[in-house]
Symmetry: C2
């Protein structure tokens, strides 16, 4: 019998998908270069040459039986060791290879991490604004997502609300910093307060609340800053990472779960991920991609374009009178719309071939997300269009 739950999901098309389809259709009419599509979070810079060269080298020189053979259930040991060494060197941690579980991107990492530290019926807290895919990621495990309302001034964590939501039913808290959709980087102060809250509540409940840190944008940080490494702040942390953005290889589906050695059950969680894989059909990422990643996990693509684009957009939005928090990283910015209804605002923008995403689905109604992982030249051409759109539709905005 067909599964009615998944069947019914087919009729709920996502806002982003609809907008992106609109942009593609409009592109066919007027040329895609004339559609200012800020809807999709796709890297716009190529993979580093080192990644390509390493993959070529493996294909040319490693025995095919070894290169393409089954990986051990918990991942290739040398790969795990190299990832651990890289994290230890960069973030002053003490992972061993046994704490690393290679996965198919961050989606695969979250699928494992969530199942390892929750059971059906448990609650998982996320903080608005948040990535809407967390809804199926969490709910399809049998646990239940609970969204803590945003601090709309700063997009750091709203601790007053967090305190209320963090009940005994909460098994894990899932954060994403730097954040999609706001671009905001959680400060050391925020992470310290979060750790204090989790520690206090864990003690009160008599069980540890786990922290799952989703960090695919960790390497895209602006203004010369360094992102605080989340697991340094709280022992019971599972770090979920993807190389999609840092190496610009989102199609290759490569990432990992890193289990803090100070975590409760630290030595069990990776083997548990191996068990979880059996039910969800995972069984490791591609062996070739895993090996190429291990050799290049300290490298990144040239990510500077994102900061250049951010500055152009931030300055323009500010100049035009938008309320907007300056992003600390990612390739997103999330200004407040110039009318209450962000959906109506984005609809009006479409008439100027500006494709923005209303942030209602991200838990930030009244705001809109602008993804600027596109060529700077296109961002520059979009700026006068944004000005025109605002002046013609919101003549009273503070510009």
């Amino acid at each position: 019998m067909i599964n009615e739950h998944y069947l019914s999901m087919l009729s709920n098309k996502s806002v982003i998908r609809n907008l992106s389809e609109y942009a593609t259709a409009r592109g066919k009419e007027i040329g895609y270069e004339n559609v200012f599509d800020f809807s999709l979070g796709n890297p716009s810079v190529p993979a580093p040459q080192s990644f390509t060269d390493t993959a070529l080298d493996f294909l040319k020189n490693m025995e095919p039986l070894r290169l393409h053979g089954y990986s051990p259930t918990l991942g290739i040991p040398e790969v795990k060791d190299k990832v651990a060494a890289s994290l230890n060197r960069r973030f002053d941690m003490n992972y061993t290879g046994n704490h690393i579980f290679p996965t198919s991107g961050a989606a695969g990492a979250l699928a494992h991490a969530l199942r390892a530290v929750t059971k059906p019926g448990d609650e998982v807290l996320v903080f608005a604004p948040y990535f809407p895919e967390y809804n199926p990621y969490i709910n399809d495990t049998g646990a239940r997502i609970k969204v803590v309302p945003a601090d709309l001034e700063t997009f750091q964590i709203n601790f007053e609300e967090a305190e209320k939501y963090l009940t005994e039913n909460v098994a894990a808290v899932l954060i994403n910093t730097p954040n999609n959709p706001s671009g905001v980087l959680y400060s050391e102060e925020t992470l310290t307060r979060l750790a204090d809250l989790l520690t206090r509540k864990s003690k009160e409940f008599g069980h540890n609340v786990f922290l799952i840190s989703d960090e695919p944008y960790r390497e895209i940080i602006f203004d010369g800053k360094k992102a605080p490494y989340v697991a340094k702040f709280y022992p019971h942390t599972l770090t979920c990472y993807s190389f999609s953005k840092s190496l610009s290889v989102p199609g290759e589906r490569i990432g990992y779960v890193a289990v803090n050695p100070a975590c409760e059950h630290a030595d069990d969680i990776v083997p548990m991920c191996g068990q979880i894989s059996r039910g969800i059909g995972h069984n490791c990422p591609s062996s070739l991609i895993m090996l190429a990643m291990a050799e290049t996990c300290d490298d990144t693509s040239d990510l500077s374009v994102y900061e250049t684009n951010m500055n152009l957009l931030y300055d323009t939005f500010t100049e035009l009178g938008f309320t907007v928090v300056r992003p600390g990283g990612t390739f997103y910015i999330m200004p407040k719309a110039l009318e209450e209804d962000a959906v109506a605002f984005c609809q009006k923008a479409l008439k100027y071939d500006l494709v923005f995403v209303p942030a209602d689905g991200f838990g930030a109604p009244g705001f809109f997300r602008v993804a600027y992982c596109i060529d700077t030249e296109k961002v520059e051409r979009a700026l006068p269009r944004i000005r025109q759109f605002v002046k013609e539709n919101y003549p009273n905005a503070g510009h």
Copy 2:
């Protein structure tokens, strides 16, 4: 809170895993070439050169942003079209690319297919002997596995028992032909009877019972025969395939679900798989691997070694008086042990450095599985050892 279900699974080590660890340890003592390890189903021939060449070509010549970019949720259209065309050409089917969902191997294919056509609480029938990983594959979806006892004479389907097990609670039937662990190929007669049974019961129940056909060994067929294509026999068939064996690339995790265009909800099932992916963290196989597979999906490694090995072992087991069904394909053979307790039998064989797997866990107690995906030279060296083991331990066997 840690998930106790997955935690408790850590203490149940699989028989195969234990034997394989024994073989590795013993190999360190006496040299791995002297351990006759027939426990693991790992391909022993290299990938075809065409696969390597195609992957090299993509890495050298395709723009990295395109090569490594996000795939559409339902897979790369050109890849899907090529797989459909190959299946249509080879098996006289009428798939379009829209009926193909690329996955991370057969495990990924089954994870999607099972969720698409069952809901938690439903029953899924499998026929003994069967691959024990079907237990977590099925039970972790929330559906429940029901094992139909084997026909121990032929290892075709035991229809008398099937009739009893096929109740109204059964949403899907999962078959695997040619079969792991028996090596048996379901005959056209078996598949016709199965289709008749499913059609009759579907009518009686007022809902279609889906057939999930797990076919990773489809290309390893002996005696010059051709494997009947399961979906030709029954419309409501989801074919789950892996290139692990045909292209010898098990580490690359590449396969697909193919939905018979005559199936109920044929046009919905692939989009439903896209929804299922969100919860289980799948999001397509590696783009590079998907593209290389599409160009080489009609090729295979040189698979002839498996038939050579099968003949050597079949002749020897027969000559020694074993009851054994001649495999029609795969790289497995499953003789009856020479005493009732196959576990005791395999323990005794270990003393001769012969590593066989008791088939109790495969639903065939009293039998043992021999995986002969090893060099022919090693099989030849094992034969006198098998003779010695049998003569010294079972002097009254019919040899």
